[in-house]
């Protein structure tokens, strides 16, 4: 293991469930922070995509969430911890095309059941845990050169 390496940057954000007007604010902030830190554009884009998909899910399906952004040497980590209904069957939720989105979400252009797959595809490492009635915890790791 060796000495723990210091983080270059860390910040936490809050997301309010159900508030579609604010959906995307956190990922927009994450994007501009990473850009300012001089992270390469393609990595910034991946981080922005995964955090945005997660943010849309929180707004769509949860009550509220905390997002922790950590930038360390060689790595960007994004953790999204929500309080909400949780996911009863993670394997099913991870299947492309599976969605419980309602009409309001669909009208905004979401609810195709692609988000979690997309998060997994754009992350170098992805973990999901969920407890029904409590909430969902996502951990995304993206490597930087």
């Amino acid at each position: 293991m060796g000495e723990p390496k210091p983080n270059l940057y860390s910040e936490s954000f809050h997301i309010e469930g159900g508030n579609f007007n604010s959906a995307g604010i956190v990922s927009t902030s994450i994007k501009s922070i990473l850009k300012k830190l001089g992270i390469p554009g393609d990595i910034v884009r991946k981080a922005a995509i995964v955090s945005y998909e997660a943010e849309i899910n929180v707004v769509s399906y949860a009550k509220k969430a905390v997002v922790n952004l950590t930038v360390g040497p060689g790595v960007v980590r994004i953790e999204v911890i929500d309080e909400g209904q949780g996911i009863p069957n993670i394997d099913l939720a991870m299947q492309e095309g599976y969605s419980t989105a309602d009409q309001r979400i669909r009208e905004m252009g979401f609810g195709a059941g692609m988000g979690l797959c997309n998060i997994k595809n754009y992350s170098d490492d992805f973990h999901i845990e969920s407890e029904v009635g409590k909430g969902t915890h996502l951990k995304m790791t993206i490597q930087t050169p």
Binding site: F20, N21, A23, G24, S27, T28, K31, G41, D42, R45, A48, I49, S51, Y52, E53, I56, E96, M108, G109, F110, G111, A112, G113, M114, G115, C117, N118, N121
Partner: protein, 124 residues
Amino acid sequence: MKLSEVRDILDAEIIVGEDCLDLEVHTAFGADLMSDVLAFAKAGSLLLTGLTNTQVIRTANVLDIAAIILVRGKKPSSETIALASELKIPILTTKYILFETAGRLYMKGIVGCLSKVENTSGRT
């Protein structure tokens, strides 16, 4: 091609980004489903869509979309315009339908940012 040429081909109105007409674009993606845009659209592409809510701007921002072309004569809300201005994402609106918009751009050399999806998911 320059964004000014895109405007001319589509007889489009520029709603945001009068100062971005020299921007170079070569590829595009068209969809009304932001879920698909997030999965498939590539950085630097045009986004052709009929949706006008603020999430279209957020989606374009995270993907580094060059400019948004609203089809079927759609006009964005003042909120959408304000967010696009803040994030410096040009918006053009054209009366052509999505099919015509794509066809007219394709004839002049704009290609899809991908032509086919790979396997079922189509993502890398």
